[in-house]
């Protein structure tokens, strides 16, 4: 009897973990494949496009009479200043989707918990808080305005100290003033700071063109050619004015002194410091941080796993040849131009403060 009892107890102990398994096998509560968005294409304008399509559909339904239940969620106006309802004026909050057929002006210190859609220009007041805004023309965000999810326009000008969470994109140009904070921004041309700062000059561009005409050196000192790339074990310093052709891999820190150039891409397992006038014809990648001190030119993507700092006068990418700057933290001085995308996974800021230029 004891043997039977022991056998039964052992069987129970072995069978117990199988009970939930057999139950799941029978009930099939979780049999779907991991969801993959087959249409996902990392398009920064995806939300904006989807929103416009939705709004046009719903407005058409309202106009036809089939979408009467939707009408209460919309505030449709012509052109001019947004006029809030009594309850909205009291709370300074609107929960309706605002659609303006003409140029739109938004009042200051107001919150829109739904999207704002202007078919022409949109001008936001200071301290406005917008969930999302779409402008068919030019979008101006007043000082200290906040965008929570996304904004898109033909061109965008964010005045000082705006907080731009989510995505900000423009079809032509995007200008961000000092003090702005951002995460993901994209435009054919992104200008950081519109006020006059010691930025890039025509002399810089001429120097860059002359750099590529200059004779290249054989390769960086203390590096070896491995499978077509220059590989340096440990730290590397490239002297001022030196130019070489080919990709470069550095196992430690890299410093490129004033006016040096690489006709290729760079990968460093340490910090990268590019001094004024440095030109890189390819990408710059670091497992740590990248500092382009000032008036540098990088044609390809800039990728760092800690921080990127771009000094005044630096240019990333070119018109018609976009590039991406990506890092958890990105600090940009006014006077920088990027053609393409700047994506700060944690925090992006535009400021003169705490950036040491050489």
């Amino acid at each position: 009897m004891w043997a039977l009892l022991l056998l039964a107890t052992t069987a129970l102990v072995f069978a117990l973990p199988l009970a939930p398994a057999l139950q799941e096998l029978r009930r099939r509560t979780d049999v779907d494949p991991l969801p993959i968005d087959q249409e996902h294409a990392c398009d920064v304008r995806h939300f904006a496009r989807r929103f416009v399509a939705l709004v046009e559909r719903e407005l058409a339904a309202i106009a036809q009479g089939t979408g009467r239940h939707l009408a209460a969620g919309y505030a449709v106006m012509g052109a001019g200043v947004f006029h809030a309802r009594e309850d909205e004026r009291r709370t300074r909050v609107s929960t309706r989707v605002l659609v303006a057929e003409g140029p739109l002006e938004l009042p200051r210190n107001f919150s829109w918990l739904r999207e704002v859609y202007g078919r022409h220009d949109v001008r936001g007041g200071c301290d406005a808080r917008l969930r999302a805004v779409m402008a068919g023309g030019r979008l101006v965000l007043g000082p200290r305005a906040a965008v929570l999810r996304w904004a898109h326009a033909r061109s965008v000008h964010a005045l000082p100290d705006c907080v731009l969470l989510g995505r900000l994109s423009a079809d032509e140009e995007l200008v961000l003033e000092p003090g702005c904070r951002f995460t993901r921004i994209h435009a054919p041309t992104i200008v950081f700071g519109s006020v006059a700062v010691p930025g890039r000059t025509d002399r810089d561009d001429e120097r860059r063109r002359a750099l590529w005409r200059a004779p290249a050196t054989a390769g960086p000192r203390s590096s070896a050619l491995v499978a077509g790339r220059w590989v340096a074990q440990g730290d590397l310093e490239i002297p001022a004015g030196e130019v070489f052709r080919g990709d470069l891999v550095v196992r430690g820190d890299l410093v490129m002194r004033r006016g040096a150039g690489i006709d290729g891409s760079i990968k460093a397992h340490g910090d990268v410091r590019l001094e004024p006038g440095v030109c890189v014809a390819g990408a710059v990648v670091s497992t740590r941080s990248i500092s382009a001190v000032g008036r540098c030119s990088v044609d390809g993507p800039i990728v760092a796993e800690r921080e990127v700092r771009l000094g005044a006068g630096s240019v990333v990418g070119a018109a018609g040849a976009p590039a991406t700057v990506t890092a958890p933290v990105i600090r940009v001085e006014p006077g920088v131009v990027v053609h393409g995308t700047v994506w700060a996974k944690e925090d992006g800021t535009i400021s003169f403060a705490d950036f040491v230029s050489a």
Binding site: P17, D30, D32, A227, G300, P322, T326
Partner: protein
């Protein structure tokens, strides 16, 4: 006589303890990976590159009698978000006897300039040989390889190509996701296994700067890197593992992109599954034989890369050693000789590597379901033990066959493709 028996017992005990240490080391490795995936810093440095001058790209789609699935794969690639002037889709039709060729040609005709078929009527059999011949006709900077049953999303090509802006990157690998999960118990168990392997194992190796593996599909290769390490080798069973190590030894890195996901079909019958894992075992062991020593003495690699690289190559040795360890422990426990300690030592050995060695893998799978937010699948984990046993014996048999085959005259490799189920 008594002395020699004692010596034998001692030797067997040392062997057992060595096996225990070996298996525990893998257990620790897997625990480390899982804890890193759950609590460590995650590395996805290249996934945010969305604006760039994209390099020229050729997508090779390997196809041998794939009439059931090839059209779907090619249509997905035609819809891909990649500059059309820089993209060439090249289906590699390797001596198909079904309607594969006709389907490819029809799609090429409908999409002039987009699809460049490569039809192979003769030559050495095998995927690697087919890719090798096709690559000779490729003039682009990057190659991405898909199997014919894969359904890439619109943004997948850019995601797989983005890491190549890093001049150190020689290959990229995305995550393979089973589509036919709900078919039967086997597919559900394999879904768990894939989740653990990619979501936890590969990503942890990427996080820790170790050796992510190029998997031969849903992955890209830099043509310059490929040429620098001798191109595709058509005399190997696992061209993906072989290439990973040749690139690593040549100081090219492989990057794993966890968010670059693509659907695939997993085997729906145990017979197909067993053949698949036997093929992987032989391929891995072949790579271990060819590259193990070279890896140890390669220049330009960190110590961690060498150790993890060797551990990865030796992964299919764990199973047979596990069986051997069980047998040794039981034999020593029930024998009368106990040279080092009491029978408790053998029990301890059995229990310890059972707990750490085996359970580490299950911990990994459970963590994968947690990260994937599919907790329901974790309930099936106890059933994975049976799948584990099947794999264990299949791997051991494959290893035995391989050792025997090494003594026999060489036979020609054949394309041992996995059966397709989609209609």
């Amino acid at each position: 006589m008594a002395l020699s028996l004692q010596t034998i017992m001692l030797a067997l005990t040392v062997a057992l303890l060595s096996i225990v240490a070996f298996v525990i080391s893998y257990g620790v490795r897997h625990y480390r990976f899982t804890l890193n995936r759950l609590f460590g810093a995650q590395r996805h440095p290249y996934v945010d590159i969305d604006a760039a001058c994209w390099p020229t790209l050729t997508v090779l789609v390997a196809a041998h009698n794939e009439e059931a699935v090839i059209a779907g794969s090619l249509r997905c690639l035609l819809a891909a978000d990649y500059p059309p002037e820089k993209l060439t889709i090249m289906p590699v039709n390797d001596r198909s006897t079904d309607g594969t060729r006709a389907i490819i040609d029809a799609l090429a005709q409908l999409n002039p300039g987009r699809i460049a078929p490569f039809h192979r009527a003769a030559g050495k059999p095998g995927k690697a040989a087919a890719l090798k011949e096709a690559t000779a006709h490729v003039s682009s900077e990057i190659i991405v390889v898909f199997d014919a049953d894969y359904l890439p999303s619109r943004g997948l090509l850019k995601q797989l190509v983005a890491p190549f802006f890093d001049p150190e990157v020689g290959a990229t690998m995305g995550r393979v996701v089973p589509l036919n999960v709900g078919t039967n118990l086997l597919t559900r168990l394999l879904d768990l296994e894939r989740a653990g392997g990619y979501q936890v194992d590969q990503q942890a190796r990427m996080n820790l700067g170790l050796v992510p593996q190029y998997g031969g599909t849903v992955g890209g290769v830099r043509v310059r890197a490929l040429e620098s390490v001798g191109g595709w080798h058509d005399d190997v069973l696992a061209e993906d593992t072989d290439l990973t190590y040749r690139l690593l030894i040549g100081q090219w890195k492989t990057v794993y992109q966890n968010r670059s996901e693509c659907y695939e079909e997993v085997p729906e019958s145990w017979g197909v599954r067993i053949r698949q894992i036997m093929r992987w075992t032989k391929g891995h062991n072949q790579a271990l034989w060819r590259h193990g020593a070279r890896l140890l003495f390669a220049r330009g690699l960190t110590r961690s890369e060498k150790i993890d690289g060797l551990a990865l190559l030796g992964i299919y040795a764990v199973g047979p050693l596990l069986i051997l360890g069980w047998l040794l422990a039981l034999a020593l426990f029930y024998s009368s000789g106990m040279p080092l300690a009491g029978g408790a030592l053998y029990l301890f050995a059995l229990v310890s590597y059972g707990a750490l060695g085996n359970f580490a893998a299950f911990f990994e799978l459970a963590a994968a379901t947690l990260v994937d937010r599919s907790a329901g699948k974790a309930r099936l984990l106890p059933l994975n033990f049976f799948g584990f046993l099947v794999s264990l014996f299949a791997i051991s048999q494959a290893m035995l066959n391989q050792m025997v085959a090494a003594l026999l005259p060489r036979r020609e490799l054949r394309w041992d493709k996995t059966r397709r189920y989609r209609t």
